[in-house]
């Protein structure tokens, strides 16, 4: 059989522009590694500069791709460039950028190896970006592994510290476990449909042309395993148990990074697999499958937010408190997930990312090198001693609690609104009850978000407090996250429109690229 190379290549659509952000991130990672070797004296400065330039370029490439966003496939449908990809990629890169800025002071203060940290973050970014763009089970797995493995290493970066080692090992074991679930699920889905491409899977489900008799059960089991695997990765209940330990043990800045960038990327893949791959309305099989995962996820969403919020009340450690709060936020985001509308989830993840990174940046400063002081009571009375840091933390916490005019409020507002809209459209009442549950949960959450503020500002100062040295990069991070929190809270129009742009036709997209 003669293969026509050019037509094969055409059908594959090898469009390098489509994977430009991933390429830049990965190449910068490699350059960073080389820089570390070449500039052994000034490795920290050189590597961080390279990393920052690389990430800014990645961000620019995303903006460049934005006008051409459409459902175009590249690489035989393995990579797709649409709003979902772009908005979540934006969040991922933003989180990495903040992590790099924070790391400059972190690696210096702790005397840790300097170059690798930035390299690892860049590779994690590349993996995360691939996850956002992936439209194929294989690409998803690839991205997920790149992102996960680098994050395991980052969690244990403070090698001498037993807590970090525990955190890293726990994260690795459970992460590997969940990856196994994912992989098995992918295999079963492939077995049932004969496809790995999500669009193709959707078509198979829509036309009810499964690979063999009785494949329906296999497909369901595969979908369930995917759900479990993704559930682990985004720390949704009942698969959340690893989160508090890992978040507490990892270096604070890594915790902030894990809780935002890679998590947002996994959310993107999770969204794509379920709302595109497993959503084929109209067909009996598609409806059945959709109904099953919809109901399961609805239960998981309520469980996640409730467990996160309720257990957070009892926390004495600020990192654990934020770990549980991030579980709760994943629950809210799942509520948006169920609407099938990407924009509100992406917007919520963006607000969450800004608040969480900002909060962790402050905590890193207060916790001192080695994360010695992470108990909430360690914060007693420091409110007016370090007003910049404390008020920032207070603003982030209030924003997470959903107090206007900060971003957290608008994020929740859009999420709940889109859930309500979707409920009106589909006529299913479940979503409305979920909104009610989420609102009640937000009320509960106010209590524990207030607690650190009470301790910081209303309690007397513990003796022996020294002001933390806040470097330039950390100041920049705080300014960025604070301004972002208020910007999204007061003027969300621009970002919302960007996340929500109507999908263009292929021709329009190509024209825009030229």
């Amino acid at each position: 059989m003669q293969v026509d190379t050019s037509s094969l290549l055409n059908s594959l659509n090898l469009d390098y522009r489509a994977i430009l952000p991933e390429t830049i991130a990965a190449v910068t990672g490699v350059v960073c590694m080389l820089t570390d070797a070449l500039f052994s004296k000034n490795a920290r400065k050189a590597c961080s500069t390279v990393a920052i330039i690389g990430l800014v370029l990645t961000l620019l490439s995303l903006f460049w791709l934005w006008p051409s966003a459409s459902a175009t496939n590249a690489y035989g449908g393995m990579v797709v460039n649409d709003q979902l990809r772009l908005s979540f990629s934006f969040i991922t890169v933003l989180a990495s950028l903040v992590a790099v800025l924070l790391a400059i002071q972190f690696v210096r203060d702790e005397g840790l190896p300097q170059g690798e940290f930035f390299t690892l973050i860049l590779f994690a970014t590349a993996g995360g970006l691939l996850l956002c763009a992936a439209n194929d089970l294989v690409t998803i797995f690839l991205g997920l592994e790149i992102a996960s493995i680098t994050t395991y290493v980052l969690a244990g970066y403070r090698r001498g510290d037993a807590r970090a080692a525990e955190s890293s090992l726990k994260y690795f074991l459970l992460g590997a476990f969940s990856t196994a679930f994912l992989l098995y699920g992918m295999a079963l889905v492939y077995g049932a449909t004969g496809k790995t491409n999500l669009t193709a899977i959707q078509q198979v489900i829509a036309s009810d042309t499964l690979a063999f008799e009785g494949a329906r059960g296999v497909l369901l089991v595969g979908a369930a395993m995917l759900l479990v695997g993704f559930g682990f990765k985004i720390a949704s209940a009942p698969f959340h148990l690893w989160t508090p330990d890992v978040y507490e043990g990892a270096p604070t800045l890594v915790t902030g990074f894990m809780a935002t960038g890679p998590k947002a990327a996994v959310f993107a893949a999770f969204l794509r697999v379920f709302t595109i791959g497993f959503t084929a309305p109209g067909a009996a099989l598609g409806d059945g499958l959709h109904h099953t995962w919809f109901t399961t996820l609805a239960v998981i969403a309520v469980l996640t937010m409730t467990i996160g919020n309720v257990i957070a009340i009892a926390q004495k450690n600020i990192k654990r408190l934020l770990a549980y709060s991030s579980i709760a936020h994943a629950g809210y985001a799942l509520l948006g997930f169920l609407t099938g509308e990407f924009a509100s989830v992406a917007f919520y993840m963006l607000t969450y990312t800004l608040m969480t990174l900002g909060a962790f940046a402050v905590i890193q400063m207060f916790a001192r090198p080695g994360d010695e002081k992470t108990e909430i009571n360690d914060l007693a009375g420091i409110g007016f001693e370090s007003p910049g840091l404390s008020f920032s933390l207070a603003i982030f916490l209030l924003s997470m609690a959903g107090v206007p005019p900060m971003a957290g409020f608008i994020g929740k507002f859009f999420l709940f609104k889109s859930a309500w809209d979707a409920s009106n459209q589909s006529g299913s009442g479940i979503l409305k009850w979920l909104v009610v549950a989420a609102v009640l949960n937000s009320i509960v959450s106010v209590y524990y978000y207030l607690y650190p503020i009470v301790v910081m500002f209303f309690r007397p100062l513990a003796p022996g407090y020294r002001k933390p040295q806040v470097g330039f990069a950390v100041t920049a991070v705080l300014l960025l996250t604070l301004l972002g929190t208020f910007y999204l809270g007061l003027l969300p129009n621009r970002v919302l429109n960007a996340f929500n742009m109507p999908v263009k036709t292929v021709q329009q997209a190509q024209a825009a690229l030229k």
Partner: protein
């Protein structure tokens, strides 16, 4: 840019100025000098804000019922949220009350020595929040400002408060947040019921008054009414939702108390008149006997509890519960006199209770105790103070020719002529409250100002200094002016109030007709 927007955001700009001042221009001056700069700067900002609010009054057309001097700019387009502000008869005086009380509470905070800059910044943010609540004509904007007032007050109580400040601050926050989240749900529901395109209060009110019963069923209306009412009644606070108030008042610094009693509580009664009555008149009528019962219980309960308080500040706090009960009573009488009286009482209470808290703060500053038993015979060493204290107390208890009388009188007449069931009974019981308020206030005056000087420390107390006079005299003048010239104030509110009254009236009648069929 019109005067309303300028007035609203001037304090916020001032807060930014203070922040920058502390960050960049503090130089190497001593803390004491810097603190003084902050105080003067804040006083200046609040005075300028007050001056900026005067053109609003001058340009106000009292014949017009609807909102005036309106600014409408689109804001969050995908939601239909706009920056929509303006004033009408309901809000005009409350805006001026806010800008008027602010400089006075800055004067009352002159003795604060802890973290002066942050203190002033919080006060200024609070002012923007309060003004925003009164001028918002968009529900989303309203909610935003309503919540913004929460945070500075929380810090003011929690950082600059008394001994049990943490308890009081958290209680204040949680109570209010629960109420306001319910209100948020109601606002969103109203938004959807109205078609999901706008949060504009004027549009929604008009649409609701035309098609309310085709848009939603009566049970839905009841739920929404309840959600709004709960948020506002917690804020008022109506018995039995009042328990946060005495704690917050007692622990708050003097300025916090003045603002809390003077303005923040009015956000609740204002909300009732802005949302509950026009949006759900039928449900309001339905609920009136219950609300009025609670209001009357609050009047009498507040007065009785005030009577036995050993702590002056707590006494004034409970008197607020009692007086705000009158306001609620007037609102739910649905008569023009009652509503006018309620609005008037809101202003009068803001002036006289603000002054009372100021007076309590002045002796607390000198003696560091608020217990009535620790005082006695203050009239001899502090004649000016005693005179002012007596006048504002008499104003608060409703002596004719002073401001409290007009409000209570109008409310009582309004309630008496109201067609709400048992209204006459409520009037009689509320009348008992008037008597009781005379009892507790006069008894307090007697024990604090007159009699023998039992404690030697009291004999040495200094009388008011110039700063305190500057703070108190305007309040006294206003209390008298409002007492002898009420029509000046009532004229501006008349058109809006009668519009609200008509809305409640007509719809109520329609309901009676339906019931007859």
């Amino acid at each position: 840019m019109n005067w309303i927007t300028i007035t609203t955001f001037l304090p916020l700009l001032g807060a930014v100025a203070l922040l920058l001042h502390g960050m960049f221009w503090s130089g190497k001056r001593e803390q004491e000098r810097l603190d003084n700069e902050y105080r003067w700067l804040t006083l200046l900002i609040t005075l300028v804000t007050f001056v900026a609010s005067i053109p609003i009054l001058l340009n106000f057309n009292s014949a017009q019922a609807g909102p005036q001097m309106v600014t409408k700019l689109s804001w969050i387009t995908s939601l239909g949220v706009s920056y929509h502000t303006g004033v009408d008869g309901l809000s005009i005086w409350l805006v001026l009350l806010t800008t008027f009380l602010m400089p006075i509470s800055i004067l009352a905070s002159w003795h604060v020595h802890k973290r002066v800059r942050e203190y002033m910044i919080f006060l200024l943010i609070l002012e923007t929040g309060m003004l925003g609540v009164f001028v918002s004509l968009d529900m989303f904007l309203f909610y935003l400002f309503f919540e913004i007032t929460l945070i500075p007050m929380y810090f003011l109580i929690g950082v600059w408060g008394g001994e049990r400040r943490i308890y009081a601050a958290v209680k204040f926050f949680i109570y209010t947040v629960v109420g306001s989240l319910l209100m948020l749900v109601a606002i969103i529901a109203v938004y959807y019921i109205n078609g999901g395109t706008t949060f504009d209060i004027v549009e929604i009110t008009n649409n609701f008054s035309a098609n309310r019963n085709t848009l939603m069923s009566v049970p839905v209306q009841r739920m929404l009414w309840f959600a709004f009412a709960l948020a506002f009644l917690i804020k008022v606070p109506l018995w039995p939702l009042h328990t946060w108030l005495p704690d917050a008042h007692v622990e708050a610094p003097t300025a916090g108390s003045i603002i809390l009693a003077g303005v923040l509580l009015k956000m609740g009664t204002y909300g009732l008149m802005r949302f509950n009555l026009p949006l759900f008149p039928e449900i309001s009528r339905e609920a009136a006997p219950i609300v009025m019962t609670l209001a009357v219980i609050g009047i009498i309960y507040g007065a009785l509890v005030a009577m036995v308080q050993p702590d002056m500040k707590k006494l004034v706090a409970y008197s607020s519960v009692s007086h705000l009960g009158f306001v609620v009573l007037g609102i739910f009488s649905f008569t023009e006199l009652g509503l006018q009286g309620a609005l008037y009482q809101m202003l009068a209470h803001g002036i006289s209770t603000g002054a009372l808290f100021y007076c309590v703060g002045i002796v607390y500053e000198r003696r560091h105790t608020r217990l009535i038993d620790d005082y006695g015979g203050l009239a001899t060493p502090m004649p000016q103070y005693s005179t002012i204290f007596i006048i504002v107390s008499l104003a608060s208890l409703g002596l004719p020719l002073l401001n409290g009388f007009i409000g209570e009188f109008l409310i009582l007449i309004g309630t008496f002529t109201s067609d709400v069931p048992y209204a006459k009974l409520f009037t009689v019981l509320a009348g008992v409250g008037v008597i009781l308020s005379a009892v507790y206030l006069l008894w307090m005056l007697q024990r604090v100002l007159f009699g023998e000087t039992t404690n030697e420390e009291n004999a040495e107390l200094e009388d008011l200094d110039r700063r305190e006079l500057f703070g108190l005299v305007p309040l006294v003048i206003l209390a008298v002016v409002m007492g002898v010239q009420p029509m000046r104030f009532l004229n501006e509110t008349k058109a809006t109030i009668s519009a609200i009254k008509q809305q409640v009236e007509i719809k109520g009648a329609a309901k009676v007709e339906r019931a007859a069929k």
